[in-house]
């Protein structure tokens, strides 16, 4: 079986993704986050806790760096010698960037994290043996390891609190790695429904929990290959190409007047999340 597969499909198994072709059909889930709209309010992070059964680790474990927030809001201030952050802070929601060439995928010894057909970086909890190599190799450090068995840890989900757990998402025990999944349970449900109806998922039919809660609508999420989707339009307008490690617009003299960029793009992991730069008024 396997050998025939190998020989019959030699060309296919030797195919380099994402450089060789345009492989995503019909889905490529991607995001665009407008940092000018992001106000840093944490609503997305709480939504993520609610949707994805994230444990609240408590003060001591937070102190030890064992917090499990799949989505974290970072707050930057580059002072350049000023006393006050008189142009405000820059907030940045950071979660798994669902890289197209994810550094975490290649290194997992058991293949618990793979690339899916719709362009996600999957994480299979039960397959994970906890070598933590993926996290070691993640430039964004957005993978979170279950240092303790949170389900049995006191006051994480005491009686009744456990009724809130989302039955569509596995509750992770100790020793497995986890991370933002782009709310895969919602995506898969939508894809399966659409497939049952012989069509593809339409724009707006599926939302991630963070996108849904964001009061300013800073997060857009959708199918990058669907020309109707907002994400597609945003990426196109910002001239950010998924399979480039250096965008042409930035090569131009004087830089670009477009805001779209991807974080640590130069590492060639081809993230699926495009950020739109924060804007500052030059008149004040």
């Amino acid at each position: 079986m396997s050998v025939t597969n190998l020989l019959d499909n030699w060309a296919a198994v030797r195919h380099f993704h994402p450089i060789d072709d345009k492989p995503h059909d019909p889905y490529k889930w991607a995001m665009a986050i407008d940092l000018d709209a992001c106000i840093g309010c944490n609503a997305c992070a709480v939504a993520c806790y609610a949707e994805n059964n994230l444990p609240v680790v408590g003060r001591e474990k937070f102190k030890h760096g064992q917090v499990m927030h799949w989505m974290r809001i970072e707050r930057y201030w580059d002072e350049d010698g000023r006393d006050y952050p008189d142009q405000g802070f820059q907030f940045l929601p950071m979660m798994c960037q669902q890289c197209e060439a994810a550094p975490c995928e290649t290194v997992c010894p058991v293949g618990a994290t793979n690339h899916t057909q719709d362009g996600l970086n999957s994480q299979i909890y039960n397959r994970c043996i906890g070598s933590r190599y993926c996290s070691a190799n993640c430039p964004f450090k957005v993978r979170y390891f279950n240092w303790y068995d949170y389900p049995t840890t006191e006051n994480v989900w005491p009686a009744e609190m456990n009724y809130q757990l989302n039955p569509d998402v596995t509750v992770r025990g100790k020793g497995v790695m986890e991370k933002c999944t782009f709310c895969v349970q919602r995506l898969r449900a939508a894809e399966v429904t659409a497939k049952g109806e012989g069509r593809i998922v339409r724009e707006g039919e599926v939302q991630t929990a963070c996108q849904q809660s964001c009061p300013t609508g800073a997060i857009s999420f959708g199918n990058l290959v669907d020309p109707e989707s907002r994400v597609h339009k945003q990426w196109q307008a910002q001239q950010v190409d998924l399979d480039k490690d250096m965008q042409e617009k930035n090569q131009k003299e004087g830089g670009s007047d477009l805001r779209g960029y991807r974080i640590l793009e130069e590492l060639r992991s081809y993230p699926s999340v495009m950020y739109l730069e924060r804007v500052r008024e030059s008149a004040v």
């Binding site: 760096g65 010894p109 293949g111 397959r127 933590r132 190799n137 993978r143």
Partner: protein
């Protein structure tokens, strides 16, 4: 001074070595006791960690690797000395290796076994370890062959099993001697079984020689590949501080270095505990010391190359990390590594100290400490100070659980080694005889020495 007394009688060689298998001295029991104690502490820590989760090791996100991986590399590195002595020097016909290669070879095996434990200890879900083993299963799922960790597993498995075979094959004639010397009891049965009916016939020797040579030939590239692959656990990643071209040779040099240092330590201990002064002679020690010095300088050079290539490259992140290593919270350990790894071995350049046992003993321990620090300095700072400044973590300090397991691993290694020394001849008798024989040939031509005891 000669490497070995040429007029030493063959029967005395047998006698001396076989004596090391007999009832142990009290010192042996003391060492064994502490080894068991340390190992017990390690086991206790591991059981606790297994029950509670990896959090008790005080690792965190993103500082997900700690002493376990560092110590793993340390033990893997230490294993390289056996190969160096038994295989490389064998090919180079350096016959002074003969009295000491057996224990070096055992050290290889045992340090690999110790290193293997750390892979397990490190896993978050130890009970699912078998997922990483490529075996046909009903799920039709294979491990990920692209992962350097899997290469590691494969390389270590190959290396460990090859080393065990090499050790065993090389020991067959000695096992026959042991068999012939044992009167009765389970040990005689064991040796009889293990000696495979060896009688030293011409046919046996003939095939033996080719086999031994062939395995030695295989072991050398294997040893190089093992530590290169360990280096690629880091080098294949993207993280600053790990992404240096010279990593594989740097790792191999470090491995040989720590292995040689460990050989010096064990040489001195064995020489003292088993009274092997006749065989583990000072001239041989001097040769090892010089070899170690040479390797120390190679390591120092490669270390400098690594820093220089980071320094001169345009990789600001790696450079930042290097500065952080030198000046940040890890600075004391980083400078201690430089001191122990590059400054301390300069003692070996002084002739007076090349045979000074107390000095050598202390120095070799320092070198090993330096090499252990080197591994730690490779692993931890990158996690504390990677690409993503928001997640930097400069307060990370291993918990007592981590230290306990690291400590326990030394107990485990000592335990294995001590048991080995009591069970098997730790000096290769037949090869010492060969050495004596070949060295005495010229004497014989002068007719001054009679062969044997007659």
């Amino acid at each position: 001074m000669k490497d070995i007394r040429e007029d030493i009688a063959w029967a005395k060689i047998n006698q001396d070595v076989m004596k090391s298998l007999e009832n142990p001295r009290p010192l042996y029991w003391v060492i064994l006791f502490f080894a068991v104690l340390a190992f017990g502490i390690g086991i206790g820590c591991e059981v606790y960690q297994y029950q509670m989760g990896m959090g008790v090791a005080n690792l965190d996100n993103p500082h997900v690797w700690g002493l376990y991986i560092a110590t793993f590399i340390f033990w893997i590195g230490m294993s390289h000395s056996g190969t160096l002595l038994s295989a490389i020097l064998h090919l180079m016909h350096a016959d002074w290796r003969k009295p000491i290669y057996r224990f070096a070879e055992a050290m290889t095996t045992f340090s690999l076994m110790t290193a293997g434990l750390f892979v397990m200890v490190h896993l978050g879900r130890l009970w699912q370890f078998y997922y990483a083993v490529p075996y046909p299963n009903e799920r039709w799922v294979w491990p990920n062959f692209q992962s350097p960790l899997l290469w590691d597993a494969m390389a270590i498995f190959t290396y460990l099993s090859s080393s065990v075979l090499f050790l065993f094959v090389g020991m067959i004639p000695d096992l026959a001697i042991a068999r012939d010397n044992m009167q009765s009891g389970w040990r005689r049965k064991l040796y009889t079984l293990l000696a495979l009916g060896w009688e030293g016939t011409d046919r046996q020797w003939r095939n033996f020689r080719v086999t031994y040579l062939t395995i030695a030939c295989f072991l050398i590239p294997l040893a190089v590949s093992v530590h290169s692959i360990v280096a690629s656990d880091f080098g294949m990643s993207q993280q600053p501080g790990w992404h240096v071209t010279s990593f594989p040779p740097y790792f191999v040099a470090g491995a040989l270095y720590s292995g040689c240092a460990a050989i010096i330590t064990l040489f001195i201990i064995l020489r003292y505990v088993f009274k092997f002064e006749e065989y583990m002679t000072l001239p041989i020690l001097k040769k090892i010391v010089r070899l170690t010095f040479a390797i120390a300088m190679v390591w120092t050079y490669l270390n400098c190359v690594e820093f220089a290539s980071v320094w001169y490259s345009h990789d600001a992140v790696s450079k930042d990390l290097l500065i952080q290593k030198m000046t940040g919270p890890y600075a004391p350990f980083w400078w201690a590594m430089i001191f122990c790894g590059s400054i301390v071995p300069l003692i070996f350049a002084i002739k007076r100290f090349q045979t000074n046992i107390p000095v050598l003993f202390a120095t070799s321990l320092l070198l090993n400490l330096g090499m252990w620090l080197e591994r730690w300095m490779i692993v931890s700072p990158t996690f504390s100070h990677g690409y993503y400044p928001w997640t930097w973590d400069h307060d990370q300090w291993p918990s007592m659980i981590q230290w306990g397991i690291v400590f326990g691993s030394f107990g485990w290694f000592t335990l294995l080694f001590m048991v080995f020394c009591k069970m098997f001849p730790s000096v290769s008798m037949y090869e010492v005889k060969e050495m004596v024989y070949h060295r005495s040939l010229h004497l014989k031509q002068n007719g001054t020495v009679e062969q044997g005891v007659h």
